[in-house]
Amino acid sequence: MRRVSQGSRVVVLPPGRWPRIDWREIWQYRELLYFLTWRDVKVRYKQTMLGVGWAFLQPFLKLVVFSAVFGKLARLDSEGFPYPIFVYAGLLPWQFFSESLQRSSQSVVGAANLIRKVYFPRLIIPLASIGACLVDFGISFSILAGLMMYYHVPLRISLMLVPALVLLTVFIALGVGTLFSALNAAYRDFRYIVPFMVQIWMYLTPVIYSARAVPARWRFLLALNPMTGVVNGYRSAVLGTALDMSGLFFSLAAGLSLFIVAVYFFRKIESQMADIV
């Protein structure tokens, strides 16, 4: 009873100069992606009293603190809308992005015991950690719905943009997350750099303030940040302000190039991952 299928033939070679990305293989491992995502979600709130409640509570508390500090005390310009809904429309994608970045940057190093003992396309690891953040992201949308009801924000046609915006956010998060997961595997310094970077990055993104508040000659700097277009996009979609198409387009282009660079860099590191993590 010899089982040899002609189909699965693998050739093991030293790493080449230009890594190839085998998307078909990643697709073959989609069940593993599902299981790792599921594990991350499941494990995260195990043995906590509130359980998944934390996924709700975290953005809510942030919303309260930001509204109190930046809305009430600092009285930041919120383009004429109530500050809580203004800030939350930005906080929603930002929270997902920063969580994704922090979790995925740790993901490869955290999966060292897997990487050293089993083969699978390593890209699955940062993908799964971002997948798990996506669940929290979904939950935090309920707060937005609550705020919209509370402030009687009408359901505009522009809300149809949200799914596309979500896709764009996920895409940028994938790029940045993958890049930093590989960087952190290669250079552990990024364990300290990333949390710091995330904080700075938030202030460089119009999350708590309006992009309008930035002097016009500095606005181009703000636009270099792919998250600017995304955050502005969410605001326009929720609050019905004019949509900045060029900003969105730039975000898409930046996200795409980031993604390509990230995946290539990841593949480059991947061949030695088992030896360095």
Partner: protein, 418 residues
């Protein structure tokens, strides 16, 4: 049908040494390397030339479908590196390997288990990590649980499992993989004796069922029992390839000088994850001198010293003496040979005096086992020890090896009326 399951051509793997100290790279390291690289370019020399070692250095072999290939060799010979390359966990530095068929690799038992998840959840997770499809796991789930004998605890988080239960479940998942090519690294050395027997049974079944298996082990009896062919690695090179008995004999023959004073703290014969309690073993003769070998009929003292952080009660210490094929020859054990009860605390020395050692000359392998209240505390396997010939009968003749492992202290009395 493919004629070849695995074809390895000139596989080599280079590691940077100091890898243990600087396990991961840092930016500072990258900068330093960059500067050094400039030095090499402009000064034409590299003052840290030998910071690499070749864990594998040009290994080639073929495995045919259905063959069970054993891989043996001393610690650091590159056995695990070879498995890691074939299972694509790490890339070779040079050479190529071709593998035809679905590969399952078991480098450890319980890869991907998460302590917070229940047994059921871990079966699915670990199965997926080992490459099983969800459908496949669902189909085999009951079998897996039955094999592990954990029906009652399957919905308990595995962090509450005993280590035996954990290992049983983990092995059960792995045992239900159905690869065409199975790469196994020393996973049989887990669990209690009964479960080990079950695992060996499963391995024998696998080996007999036409799967291609690559099996790394230090257990020569298992190697000879399971494999149809064996390769011997030493220093990253393939030294010998052939029939199990021949290759095993060759390996045992030149294992290098046998020592009489062995540091056990970093001994390769200790299972992973076990804390060293026994630190040193010495072989002494009747005068208390440390010796490399002992002669037949002489007194042997085995002295085990170590230290334990907390007080151990009901301690038992056993020294299993194994022949070259892994078969048990005899055992020295406090349970049977020491009248009192033993409690240890802090530094300790256990001395076992074997008077008039009647073992056949040859190589033996000792396994030291320390238990407290029936629970294993420390185990070290694969300590070699030699008994040399002496003219014990004063006849100038020694019993040949075929007479058995015991050299009796026999005296003949001959009477004849003629």
């Amino acid at each position: 049908m493919a004629e070849i399951a695995i074809r390895a051509e000139d596989i080599a793997k280079r590691y940077r040494i100091g890898r243990l100290q600087e396990r991961y790279r840092t930016l500072r390291g990258a900068v330093a390397r960059g500067v050094r690289g400039l030095g090499v370019r402009f000064l034409g020399r590299d003052w840290r030339k030998d910071e690499y070692i070749w864990a594998l250095d040009g290994v080639s072999f073929l495995v045919r479908p259905g063959e069970v290939l054993g891989v043996i060799g001393p610690n650091g010979a590159g056995k695990t590196t070879l498995l890691k390359i074939l299972s694509r966990i790490t890339c070779p530095t040079r050479g190529r390997a071709e593998i035809c068929g679905r590969v399952g690799s078991l480098l450890e038992v319980g890869t991907g288990f998460h302590p917070e998840l229940t047994g059921r959840e871990n079966v699915f997770l670990s199965g997926a990590i080992l490459g099983m499809r969800r459908r496949e796991i669902e189909r085999k789930f009951d079998q897996i649980v039955a094999f592990a004998e954990l029906e009652r605890f399957i919905d308990t988080p595995v962090k509450r499992y005993s280590s035996g239960m954990y290992v049983r479940l983990a092995f059960a998942v792995a045992a239900h993989l159905e690869p065409e090519i199975l790469l196994v690294d020393e996973v049989l050395a887990v669990g209690d004796a009964a479960f080990q027997k079950k695992c060996t049974g499963k391995m024998t079944e696998v080996a007999g069922s036409g799967w291609t298996v690559l099996f790394v082990s230090h257990n020569m009896a298992a190697i000879e029992g399971l494999c149809s062919r064996v390769i011997l690695l030493r220093g990253g090179r393939l030294e010998c390839d052939g029939k199990p008995e021949e290759v095993v004999a060759r390996y045992l023959l030149d294992r290098g000088p046998v020592q009489g004073d062995i540091d056990l703290r970093r001994h390769g014969g200790r299972p992973r994850g076990v804390n060293p309690v026994m630190h040193r073993v010495r072989f002494l003769d009747r005068h208390g001198r440390c010796v490399n070998t002992i002669g037949v009929g002489e007194d042997l003292i085995v002295e085990i010293s170590g230290s334990c952080a907390e007080r151990l009660i009901d301690v038992a210490c056993g020294i299993r003496v194994m022949g070259v094929l892994g078969q048990r020859v005899t055992t020295f054990h406090t349970r049977y040979q020491y009248p009192g009860r033993i409690a240890l605390e802090g530094a300790f020395v256990l001395r076992c005096r074997v008077r008039n050692l009647r073992l056949m000359p040859g190589e033996y392998s000792l396994m030291l086992v320390l238990t407290a209240t029936e629970q294993p505390v420390d185990t070290v396997d694969g300590i070699s020890f030699t008994v040399h010939e002496r003219d014990v009968y004063r006849t100038g003749k020694m019993l040949p090896a075929r007479c058995g492992p015991y050299v009796p202290d026999a005296v003949w009395d001959v009477q004849s009326s003629g």
